[in-house]
Every structure is written in structure tokens, then in C-alpha cells.
């Protein structure tokens, strides 16, 4: 089955194992986690579409979507994502500082 190798569909068992580590391995939670993964990717794809439309760059869309595709085939993104969203002060400060940096670039340099 070639298709299952690139999808996240084969990863169900791995996903379940990962979630059991945190004590939330029942089927409902795993389903919810998978939904989260799909929403994350889906919104990334949509954002890529939007960006490519705003900047009128077809190439950006293609490159972005293929990067997302590679991301999908390698690993579940969502656990990484959860780590980044933890409430450890240092990680929060890291993201805030990245945010202010990106914001200042967006407002000042890209006008």
C-alpha cells in the first residue's frame, strides 16, 4: 500500500503509543488527537494558499505545500506542538521575544 506510507493514517498505532505515554490512550482521546493533527495541517495548507494569493507567488504555494507534505509523512507534529505550548516560563518568553521581533520586522521593514 503505497498510499498509507505517505499518509498519517498508518501512524495510528504509533500515535496511540505516544498518547498512552501521557495516560490518555483511550480511543476517544486518540481520535481527538488525530483530529487536532489534521486541523493543524489543514490550516497550514490554507494559510499557504492565502499567502501565495496575497503575494501572487505560485511557487511559494507549491514549495510550502510540499514542505507540509514531507512533514506529514515523517512524524506526528502535534506532540512537538504541545511541548511548545507548555507553560514553562522560558519557552513562553522565547516565543514572545520571537513574536515581537517578527512583528517589528513586519511593521517596519516590510512596509
Amino acid at each position: 500500500m503505497i498510499i498509507s506510507k505517505v499518509g498519517i493514517f498508518m501512524k495510528y498505532d504509533e500515535f496511540k503509543r505516544e498518547m498512552e505515554k501521557e495516560g490518555t490512550g483511550d480511543s476517544m482521546s486518540v481520535g481527538a488527537g488525530l483530529t487536532g493533527e489534521i486541523i493543524l495541517y489543514g490550516s497550514l495548507v490554507m494559510v499557504m494558499f492565502l499567502l501565495s494569493r496575497v503575494f501572487s507567488e505560485v511557487l511559494l504555494a507549491i514549495v510550502g505545500i510540499s514542505i507540509i507534505g514531507i512533514g506529514i509523512s515523517t512524524m506526528p507534529l502535534i506532540f512537538k506542538f504541545k511541548e511548545e505550548n507548555s507553560n514553562q516560563m522560558n519557552i513562553q518568553l522565547f516565543w514572545i521575544s520571537i513574536f515581537v521581533g517578527v512583528l517589528s520586522v513586519a511593521l517596519y521593514l516590510a512596509k
Partner: protein, 491 residues
């Protein structure tokens, strides 16, 4: 002698402040409970004291002569702001009523609640940007205090984080205000808007805009500040959390309106609008994805608040009149159904735990409460005929009319996620089969009548606004038309 004016608008802010001092002074006394109840009743009528129009504090109106600027502090009340203040006060009153059922109610808690209500209504009405900053800081300290009130170690930590980052964001916001003051020479929002529209941009103005957005992100819980906010909501008592989320929703709306008012029509605002839309998409997606992973009911609700905040921000960030109406309307709806959900969580948490894996089978013990919680959940997912449906429909309509179908698709995707975790929570709490011992435990649960009363009123409001959305929308529309601009992404 000046001609006497009969506008009691300041009482909306001042009366809760006076009562809050009295409450903090008599905090141990036995009459606190009765007074709190009375205060809750008074709060509902307070928003009707003001008459529409601009109110000048200390009779310092628009100065004639050398400058035609407003010299003092001005507040503006219009139907849209009145609806927001009324919603805020109503929810505050219902929370105070359900707090009277608490065993350890004390005056300090009531006092903080009242200060928060006064300061957030001041933020909504203020037409003066420094006054807005002062009340923004009061709201920050109040929220930290309300979290600390629950007294656990985690609550202390959440409040500490919130204060540390809040002080930074507040200082940067003030820096922005200082930059704008230096560039425009005024603090009044209307005058500032006129100045900005007629003069070209300087680096100081860009800096001011940047700092205002940082303040907005913090006050409204947009990413990357969402983890701090979610932490706060989940660590506070659930019925306190319903108040906290109401505060930050209205702070978000008020600050967004200020930014739109100041910069909305300017040519260099396009990139900022993109940034704001990106932030709101981030809020929606991050909130939902994190909520899908949670196992604790309170945390789930906390992240759900973040994702709905993203919706509100998205509507306002689009900036067309329809988008602004949709954003404000969704904010009001969200405040209502989310308070209902948190109150439901408060009732459920009487069953010892908020960990969903340990709950289950609660339906036979509180069928009426379960029904109301289900109503609120359906409202948040966006199922007709409840209020969430109406505002989400408006939001998606606004996104389509601005020619951003991608945003609409993301909204629908996020709604699906909301459906999944809300139904998961409902199943795990109310429907899942449970053991005999648990049933024995459940028999001892005493449900506070006050909480159920508040929950019932909120549910009725959900249905009412779902069937007659025009009650709110008609009041917001003229205001939105005033500050919104029509545009569409034509590429």
C-alpha cells in the same frame, strides 16, 4: 455657575468602585453575602444610567481658540458600547449571584470582581487612550488577584506569570502611547484619528502601532500570549474563570476597536491588518489543537476560550462593517455561552474532580444541568437555532465578502474541532458508564441553587439571541459602519 447636566454615565464606573472599597473594608463581616446579592441586582440596572453621546469629565470639553482638541478625558456611550457594558454587567451579576452560594465568600473577592467590572466597562467606554491604559492595568491586577483567590500553588504560579509578562506588555503599551502622544500631541482617540488621517506617518507612529499590537495581544490572549491566559483560566475557580474570560474578551474588543479607529483607514495599515488576521488564525488553530489534546475539563475550556478569542479577533481584524459587527456579536455571544460552560464546570467540579477520565455517568444526577450545558456546547459549535450559529454565520459571511475564503475554511475546520472535543467532554462527563462507588459518591453532591439559576438565565439568553439576533446586531451596526471600511482582497 455651569449649566447642570443630567448624564449619570460616570456612575457606571464609579458606583462599583465605591462599593468595592466598602466591601474590602468590611471583608469579614456577615452582611457581605447579602450585600453581594444586592450589588448583583444593582449591577444589572447600572448600564442604563448613561445617556448616549460624549461625556466630558470635569467639564473639559473641546477647547476652542488656538487648538480645537479635547482637553480633558472623554467617554463615549453609544448603543453598541451600551450592549457590551450591559452584557458585561449581566454576567458579572450572575457570577456574583452564584458566588453567594459559595461557603467561603468574602468581601475581598466581591471587591475585586467589582473593580474588574468597573475597569473593563471603563476600557470599553474610554475615548482617551491614557485613561484606557490606566484601567487596563487595573484589569490586569484584578485578574491576577482573582486567580490568586483560589489559593493553590498552581494558581499562584499562573498569576505570577501573568503579572510578569503583563508588566512588560503594559510598559510597552505605555511606550506606544507616549510615542503616539509625541507624534500627535493629544491623547483623545478622536483627535488622534483626525491627526493621523491628515499627516504622513513617522517612525514614532509605526512604533506606537507596534506597541499597541503587543498590548492587544496580551490583553486579549492572542498568541503567543495564549499559554499564559489559558493557564490562568484553568487554574482559577471555574466560576471565577468565566468572569476572567469575559474581561479579556471585552478588553480584546475594546483595544481592537481603538486600533481600527486610529489606523483603520490608513494606507499603511494593510500589513498590520495581515498581521492581525494571522494572529487571529493562530489563536483559533492553536486553541483548538491544544483543547483537543487536553484531558482536564477546565483546561479544555480554557483553550476553547483562546480559540473563540481568535474568532472575535478575526472578525474585527477583517475590518469591514460586517466583520466588525460579526466580531463584536461573536464576542458578546462567546461571553454568554462560555460563562454558561464555566458555570457548568463549576457545578460538575463539585463531583470531586475535573479530570474527565475520573468522571462519568453524571447524567441521571443532574439532567437539567446537563441539558443546559449541552445547549451551551451546541451554541459554541455553531448549531442553529443558538446564538453561536448566528455570529459564526456572520463571521464566515464577512470573510467571504472580503474575498478571503481561506479564512472561512479555517473557521469551519476549527468549528469541526470544537465539535469533536466538546462532544468528547460531554460523553466523558455525562454519558460514560461508571462504577457503583462513583454512583454512591454522586448521591452526596449538593448542587448550589444559585449557580443553576445563573446557568439557566445564560441558557435562555443563548436561545433568545439565537432566535432574535437583531436585538444586538441592529445596535452594533451603526457603530461598525462608522469605524469600518469596505475592502476586498482582489487577487
Amino acid at each position: 455657575m455651569v449649566k447642570k447636566m443630567d448624564n449619570f454615565l460616570p456612575l457606571i464606573v464609579v458606583f462599583p468602585l465605591i462599593m468595592s472599597i466598602i466591601f474590602s473594608y468590611i471583608y469579614k463581616s456577615k452582611i457581605v453575602r447579602i450585600l453581594t446579592f444586592l450589588m448583583a441586582l444593582i449591577l444589572v440596572v447600572l448600564p442604563f444610567f448613561g445617556t448616549y453621546g460624549t461625556y466630558f469629565f470635569g467639564d473639559h470639553a473641546i477647547a476652542l481658540g488656538s487648538t480645537s482638541l479635547t482637553s480633558g478625558i472623554a467617554y463615549v456611550l453609544n448603543p453598541a458600547k451600551n450592549v457590551m457594558v450591559f452584557t458585561l454587567m449581566l454576567i458579572g451579576s450572575l457570577i456574583l449571584i452564584s458566588a453567594t452560594g459559595e461557603k467561603k465568600l468574602n468581601g475581598i473577592f466581591t471587591s475585586l470582581m467589582l473593580m474588574g467590572l468597573a475597569s473593563v466597562s471603563a476600557i470599553i467606554m474610554a475615548e482617551d487612550i491614557f485613561n484606557l491604559y490606566v484601567f487596563y492595568e487595573i484589569a490586569t491586577i484584578t485578574q491576577a488577584g482573582l486567580v490568586i483567590a483560589s489559593g493553590t500553588e498552581n494558581a499562584y504560579k499562573a498569576a505570577f506569570r501573568y503579572l510578569l509578562i503583563g508588566t512588560m506588555a503594559g510598559s510597552l503599551l505605555l511606550l506606544g502611547i507616549a510615542l503616539l502622544l509625541s507624534a500627535t500631541g493629544t491623547l483623545n482617540i478622536e483627535d488622534m484619528r483626525n491627526f493621523l488621517a491628515n499627516n504622513s506617518a513617522t517612525p514614532a507612529i509605526y512604533g506606537g502601532l507596534l506597541m499597541l499590537i503587543i498590548g492587544l495581544g496580551y490583553g486579549g490572549g492572542l498568541p503567543p500570549f495564549h499559554t499564559i491566559k489559558a493557564d490562568m483560566y484553568s487554574r482559577a475557580r471555574p466560576f471565577v474563570a468565566s468572569m476572567l474570560q469575559t474581561y479579556s474578551k471585552f478588553v480584546l474588543i475594546a483595544l481592537m476597536i481603538v486600533i481600527l479607529k486610529l489606523f483603520g483607514g490608513l494606507p499603511y495599515f494593510n500589513i498590520t491588518r495581515g498581521v492581525l488576521i494571522a494572529l487571529s488564525i493562530g489563536g483559533m488553530v492553536f486553541g483548538t489543537v491544544m483543547a483537543l489534546l487536553q484531558n482536564d475539563y477546565k483546561k479544555l475550556l480554557a483553550y476553547h476560550t483562546i480559540s473563540q478569542g481568535g474568532y472575535v479577533a478575526a472578525g474585527l481584524a477583517i475590518g469591514t462593517p460586517l466583520g466588525i459587527v460579526a466580531g463584536i456579536f461573536h464576542g458578546i455571544n462567546h461571553a454568554i455561552y462560555k460563562s454558561a460552560l464555566f458555570l457548568g464546570a463549576h457545578i460538575v467540579s463539585k463531583a470531586k474532580s475535573s479530570n474527565m477520565a475520573k468522571l462519568g455517568g453524571l447524567l441521571p444526577f443532574m439532567p437539567f444541568v446537563a441539558f443546559m450545558i449541552l445547549c451551551a456546547k451546541l451554541a459554541t459549535i455553531g448549531i442553529p437555532p443558538l446564538n453561536g450559529f448566528q455570529s459564526k454565520l456572520l463571521l464566515i459571511d464577512a470573510a467571504m465578502k472580503a474575498n478571503i475564503p481561506e479564512l472561512a475554511i479555517i473557521m469551519i475546520l476549527v468549528s469541526i474541532g470544537t465539535f469533536v472535543y466538546m462532544m468528547k467532554a460531554f460523553y466523558l462527563i455525562f454519558l460514560k458508564p461508571c462504577s457503583e462507588e462513583q454512583i454512591e459518591e454522586y448521591k452526596n453532591i449538593k448542587i448550589s441553587k444559585y449557580s443553576v439559576f445563573s446557568l439557566a438565565i445564560l441558557t435562555v439568553l443563548c436561545i433568545l439571541l439565537g432566535i432574535y439576533p437583531d436585538i444586538v446586531v441592529d445596535r452594533i451596526y451603526p457603530f461598525a459602519k462608522d469605524i469600518g471600511i469596505n475592502w476586498a482582497l482582489n487577487k
